[in-house]
C-alpha cells in the first residue's frame, strides 16, 4: 500500500479567499466494524453539503479515493474496534497525524460486537469456530501473509490503544447525532443530540 502515492498533502486544499476561513481537513477511518457507522454518516444526506462548507474530506472509505492517510488532519472519525495488527498500526498513524480523534460508534467506544469474542475464547478458538467448525465448504484458515492481518488477542476500544478526544456512541450513531457532534466542533456551540449506546 505504501507504494501508492497520494496527491501531495496540502495540494488538494482549495485556494481560500482572504475573507473565508480555511477549511478543516476532515477524515474518516474504518477499523474493526461493519461500516454501519459510515452508512449512517452517508445518511447525513444534504447536510453533507453543509459539511463541505466547513471541511474538506482528505481521507475516507466513503468520501475520498486517497489510499494513504495524510498529514495534518484536523478532525478524524474512527469507526470500529482495534481488532487486528493492521488496525493497531493504522490507528497509531491516524492518531499521530490527527489533531482531534473521535471514537465513532459503539465498536470504537466500547468494543461492541467486534469485542464479543473477547470473553470466551483465544484467537485460535475463534478461528477454529468460524473457519473450521462452521465452514460449509473447504474448511481452512484464511492465511495470506502480508494481506490478511492476524487478529490481536482482544478486540479493544480505540481509547484503550491511543488517546481519544471525543466519544460518539451508538450502533450506529444516528445521522442527527453525527451532525450534532460535528456542528458543535465546527461552530463551538454545545451539542444538542443526546448520546445513546446501542
Amino acid at each position: 500500500m505504501d507504494t501508492l502515492t497520494n496527491p501531495a498533502p496540502g495540494a488538494v486544499v482549495e485556494t481560500e479567499g482572504a475573507d473565508r476561513p480555511k477549511k478543516l481537513r476532515f477524515a474518516t477511518v474504518w477499523l474493526g466494524g461493519c461500516s454501519g457507522c459510515h452508512m449512517s454518516f452517508l445518511d447525513l444526506d444534504e447536510w453533507l453539503f453543509e459539511l463541505a462548507k466547513y471541511a474538506e474530506v482528505v481521507f475516507s472509505p466513503v468520501g475520498s479515493d486517497a489510499k494513504i492517510f495524510p498529514d495534518q488532519v484536523d478532525i478524524c472519525l474512527a469507526e470500529g474496534a482495534v481488532a487486528n495488527e493492521e488496525n493497531l498500526e493504522f490507528i497509531q498513524k491516524v492518531r499521530s497525524r490527527s489533531k482531534l480523534l473521535i471514537s465513532f460508534g459503539d465498536c470504537a467506544v466500547n468494543g461492541n460486537v467486534t469485542a464479543m469474542r473477547n470473553p470466551s475464547a483465544t484467537v485460535e478458538e475463534i478461528l477454529d469456530r468460524c473457519y473450521l467448525e462452521l465452514a460449509d465448504l473447504s474448511p481452512q484458515y484464511p492465511r495470506e501473509p502480508g494481506i490478511v492481518p492476524p487478529l490481536i488477542k482482544q478486540a479493544l476500544p480505540v481509547h484503550q490503544v491511543v488517546p481519544v478526544d471525543v466519544f460518539l456512541p451508538g450502533c450506529p450513531p444516528s445521522a442527527a447525532q453525527i451532525q450534532s457532534a460535528l456542528e458543535s466542533l465546527f461552530t463551538g456551540e454545545a451539542q444538542t443530540a443526546k448520546l445513546k449506546f446501542g
Binding site: N110, V113, M116, P119, H159, F167, F197
Partner: protein, 238 residues
C-alpha cells in the same frame, strides 16, 4: 402518621416520618436516579446511584434506605454526586459484557437509559470482558449473566412477592454470580413457579422471555407494584 419537614434541593417538603429520602423526593417531583430500587419490594441500597448529600453528615447516604428526619437538608444533584453517579455507571459497563446493539432489552433497558441520564459517553475504566455463561434451561425464560448488574431485584421479587425464593447471589468479587436454586440450572429448580416476575423486574436484558430478539423485550414493571398493592391495600384492579 407523624409528619416531618425537611428540605430537598432547597425545597421545603413535608413527609411521613417513616418515609425514605427517595420516597419524599419522588413525592415532591424531585427525580433521584436508581437502578436497584423497585416499587413493590424492599430496598437494599445496593447500586448506590441514589446517594445524596445530607448537611452535617460527612458521608454520602443512599436515599432509598435513609429515613427522613426533622430539619434534614438534602442535596440530590451536586456536581460531586453527578460525577460519582457517572463513575458508578461506567464501572457497571466495564464490569460486565453489555452489548446494547444485540441485546433483547435494547431501547427498553434501565442501564442503557442511565448511561444517557448521567451523560456517560464511554467508560474511563478498562473493559473487563469477563467470561460469563448463559442459562436457557428454563422452558419459558432465559438468563444471560453477561448482562447482569447484581441489582438483586429478581431475588427480592421472587422472595417477597412470589414467595418462591429461586434466586440468590453466590461467590464474591469478580466471581460474583446470580444463581438459581443451589447453583443449579434454572430449568431444574423445582421451586420456580414460572411466574415471570423476575423477568418483569430485571432492569437489563439479563432475564428475558425466550423467543424475543434484539430490542424486542418490553416488561410489565407496574405488575409488581400492582400485586403488592393488591395484597396490602386490597386494590384488586388496575
Amino acid at each position: 402518621m407523624a409528619v416531618v419537614t425537611l428540605t430537598i434541593d432547597g425545597v421545603a417538603i413535608a413527609a411521613e416520618a417513616n418515609a425514605s429520602i427517595l420516597q419524599a423526593a419522588r413525592s415532591a417531583g424531585i427525580a433521584i436516579p436508581t437502578l436497584c430500587h423497585l416499587e413493590g419490594v424492599s430496598d437494599v441500597g445496593g447500586c448506590r446511584l441514589c446517594v445524596v448529600e445530607v448537611a452535617g453528615i460527612n458521608k454520602l447516604l443512599p436515599a432509598c434506605v435513609t429515613q427522613v428526619a426533622e430539619g434534614m437538608a438534602v442535596q440530590t444533584n451536586t456536581p460531586t454526586l453527578q460525577s460519582y453517579r457517572r463513575t458508578l455507571v461506567e464501572l457497571l459497563f466495564a464490569e460486565g459484557n453489555h452489548v446494547c446493539s444485540v441485546c433483547v432489552a435494547n431501547n427498553h433497558c434501565e442501564l442503557q437509559d442511565m448511561a444517557t441520564t448521567v451523560g456517560m459517553d464511554h467508560s474511563h475504566f478498562a473493559y473487563q470482558f469477563p467470561k460469563r455463561d448463559v442459562d436457557v434451561s428454563h422452558e419459558k425464560f432465559g438468563l444471560d449473566r453477561n448482562r447482569c448488574i447484581y441489582c438483586t431485584r429478581c431475588i427480592r421479587v421472587c422472595d417477597e412477592i412470589e414467595g418462591a425464593r429461586v434466586w440468590d447471589i453466590a461467590f464474591r468479587g469478580e466471581r460474583v454470580k446470580l444463581i438459581a436454586g443451589l447453583d443449579q440450572s434454572w430449568g431444574d429448580v423445582e421451586a420456580c413457579t414460572s411466574c415471570g416476575k423476575c423477568v418483569d423486574a430485571c432492569p437489563t436484558g439479563a432475564l428475558f422471555k425466550k423467543g424475543s430478539t434484539v430490542a424486542e423485550m418490553t416488561r410489565d414493571r407496574d405488575r409488581l407494584q400492582f400485586l403488592q398493592s393488591a395484597r396490602e391495600e386490597h386494590q384488586w384492579t388496575r
